[in-house]
């Protein structure tokens, strides 16, 4: 990015500015060391974590994810992964808020089905309403439906995060036109969450005008996660620059790049 663009282009989430438009999950890595190295290479400033039962005595020496990714260095985005109803999602967010000393930012996902991990939209709307009322800043995982995205924004979610494809599938953006419509309608940040497989998918999301991309498996399940994290960082930056630059119109036929005038033969 030109120095000018780099110094002014910021992602704003819940009033806080971020340089990086890549948000990453912290699951599925080989170990904590690989997690830390991949996340450093991604340049991400916002990282998601899940909330689970504490290991009571089985593995006392095991490092905690928050020691590897300290909340004073990263914005921690606790998720409600694994929740299949509004009530457990809300409970999970309350536990996360307590865990993180009153931190209000959460990623809401209420799943509808184990095979697809598609969101249960009705339950998502219900949970979002309750969480917003309770003072949470809700970034919400949803499907690529512009009407649902509009509704979630109206409820007061601070970011809408449509899937590109099923979670962990790496299929890329299956419905770019719907993502585009969501982006065009929204006044809150739109981030593609789930489904990207490689750097060009991330770039495509950014070229569509998305404010950011959240991913986990695309990095963690790559043969070399640290190198893929770096590739994703560049893909996000390239896509963002291309979006800001404004691409040329696509044309069916050729248009010579060298002048016709001055031909000497």
């Amino acid at each position: 990015m030109s120095t000018d663009t780099q110094s002014t282009d910021r992602l704003i989430i819940a009033g806080k500015e971020y340089r990086s438009r890549l948000l990453v999950g912290t699951g599925k890595y080989k170990d904590m060391d690989q997690t830390a190295r991949a996340i450093a290479a991604s340049g991400a400033e916002i990282v998601t974590v899940a909330v689970r039962r504490t290991n009571l005595g089985q593995n006392p020496g095991e490092p905690n994810i928050l020691e590897v990714l300290p909340p004073d260095r990263y914005t921690i985005l606790p998720n409600t992964a694994g929740c299949y109803d509004a009530e457990t999602a809300v409970r999970t967010c309350r536990l996360a808020r307590e865990l993180l000393d009153g931190h209000k930012l959460v990623k809401l996902e209420v799943l509808g089905d184990e095979k697809t991990l598609f969101p249960d939209v009705m339950a998502t709307l219900k949970a979002a309403e309750e969480l917003v009322k309770d003072g949470f800043d809700v970034m919400v995982y949803t499907n690529d439906d512009p009407i649902v995205a509009r509704e979630l924004e109206a409820i007061g979610c601070i970011a809408v995060m449509p899937l590109a494809a099923p979670i962990g599938s790496g299929l890329g953006i299956r419905n770019p036109l719907n993502i585009l419509t969501i982006v065009e309608n929204a006044k809150v940040p739109v981030l593609v969450d789930a489904g990207v497989g490689t750097a060009s998918d991330a770039a495509e999301a950014m070229e569509l005008g998305c404010d950011g991309v959240l991913m986990n498996t695309a990095i963690a399940a790559a043969k070399d996660p640290v190198l893929m994290a770096s590739a994703m960082r560049k893909g996000i930056e390239a896509g963002r620059e291309a979006f800001l630059a404004g691409r040329m119109p696509a044309k069916r036929f050729a248009s010579a790049s060298s002048p016709i005038e001055g031909l000497f033969f």
Partner: protein
Amino acid sequence: MNIILNGETREVAEGTRLSELVETLALAGQRFAIEVNAELVPRSRFSEHPLSPNDRVEIIQAVGGG
């Protein structure tokens, strides 16, 4: 009396407070949060929260996830 701690039955002394349970489990210095019977109990209230028989206690932490 018995409580259900993270899904497993555990015997604790009658009238055990949450703060005492936390001490027994040697959780001091770790980041965790607790709910009892699906209701969050803030840290500030651990010492005044006595457990009752069959209470379902969940102690949770942050783990890697997407």
